[in-house]
Symmetry: C2
């Protein structure tokens, strides 16, 4: 395991790193899911469609480290680990789900904008 440096842009503006954790592909979806209730690892994996074990673990670790997610490991066999939002994470999750829900409401407008504009890349 190699520990990577914060990149140049992070050094110039430390909030960029946090912003990217929270708005990352899987970060958004984890926060949104946990807003409903706490989940076990496997539950989350099934609920968040398409996430790999590796990426889910990585995303949860990053969010835990930033203080957004609380991890509670029960010392039982088979292992049981529950994830939930911290108070800080709850606030973050409200903001990102606000964004997600806004997008879902405005999707028709986005799609008609795309038609007007002519079908081009989906980057």
């Amino acid at each position: 395991m190699t520990v990577s440096e914060p990149d140049v842009y992070d050094r110039m503006c430390p909030s960029r790193g946090v912003l990217e954790h929270v708005t990352s592909r899987w970060g958004v979806l984890v926060l949104a899911a946990l807003r409903d209730r706490g989940y076990r690892f496997g539950e989350l994996r099934r609920r968040i469609d398409g996430v790999s074990e590796k990426m889910l673990a990585q995303t949860l670790q990053t969010l835990e480290r930033d203080g957004f997610v609380h991890r509670k490991a029960h010392p039982v066999i088979p292992p049981r680990v529950d994830y939930s939002l911290t108070p800080l994470g709850t606030e973050a999750a409200e903001l990102v789900t606000g964004l997600v829900e806004w997008i879902e409401r405005r999707l028709p407008q986005v799609e008609s904008a795309r038609e007007l504009h002519g079908a081009r890349r989906e980057g």
Copy 2:
């Protein structure tokens, strides 16, 4: 130039694509910048620290296609192109800058959470 398909996850949930355009590394920063006022291409490039010409152009095209950004090309030499937010883009920008500003306010809490947790990866 190859035009890429929307990937599998986009097909399952079309809002994911829009979410990723808006929360992408440069998308967030473009929306936040344009919230202040309209900018020319070069102005934006200078204002958004670290963005390459290529990525700025690509990001603006994506946001334009989604109906968030308005592009006004003046037929003069040398060329002049102004970018601004559409009404839809203004709403999106408000949500993302809300998130950015929240993160900036909470940064001290995030940093103390990191210290408690012990210094680990910056993924």
